[in-house]
Subunit: 160 residues, 2 copies
Amino acid sequence: MHCVDKNIIDTVVEISLNNIVRRKGGPFGAVIVDSGTNEIISYGANSVTTDKDPTAHAEVNAIRKACESLGTFSLTGKTLYTSCEPCPMCLGAIYWSNLDKVFYANTKTDAAEIGFDDSFIYDEINKEKSERKIKFVQIECKEAKEVFKIWKNDKDKVEY
Amino acid sequence: MHCVDKNIIDTVVEISLNNIVRRKGGPFGAVIVDSGTNEIISYGANSVTTDKDPTAHAEVNAIRKACESLGTFSLTGKTLYTSCEPCPMCLGAIYWSNLDKVFYANTKTDAAEIGFDDSFIYDEINKEKSERKIKFVQIECKEAKEVFKIWKNDKDKVEY
């Protein structure tokens, strides 16, 4: 079982501090390491406001950089360290990238206390779609289902 | 109230079909439009396998392109059309980008039936962290809390 390396926790917290001192974005840092050796593969810091990209959270940036560096869309065998509990977007990115494990410092409640919506978005997920702040409306479309069938029956597709 | 434009649903389904025919990625397409005029601002198609980026879902790609095109990290006043119900990662991106509304065709259950983990990831969110497939472990760190306090008290920060 992969154990936590406290030095890497210190590193992600340092990234989060440098990020606000340098006015690059929110107070969040992340690092991806090899689960076996703890060798660092990528660093990420929140850059939403400077990159003008709402998806540029520390974890997403670290995942995208690790994949670019390794030339793969799967991070099996890798562990994410982050200065704060991942929001639903980052949690999804963690699952899609097949990371082994996540170590985090601050919680989503800590994030809520300094004005971030992480906890709010988690609450929204469990609401009826019609009760959410942002409405999600399904439109029946048989052509869309046809496309899914073509994908399912395609023997040459690249799965992920 | 913004009503659905069936032509735009047809467009996102066409994007999803072209995407698999051209072997660019999974069977998913998205479009972002102005909520008032329905003018198209950006297009997105899934490019996970060709960009080697697990975050490159149709919705995330469309959001990033719209923000780049408009020079902003907020898509207030914009609506997302997508060929499939957004996964938790894309739902998070939708909230962080402040979109008005989402119209989608296929459901997360349809996605599960052709081998995608959308529904599985939604289920994981509500599990105890110790019961999840990917373990999320909190490491107490007072320095991390200090960074959050610095952010909270910073009067010159750029909020998002």
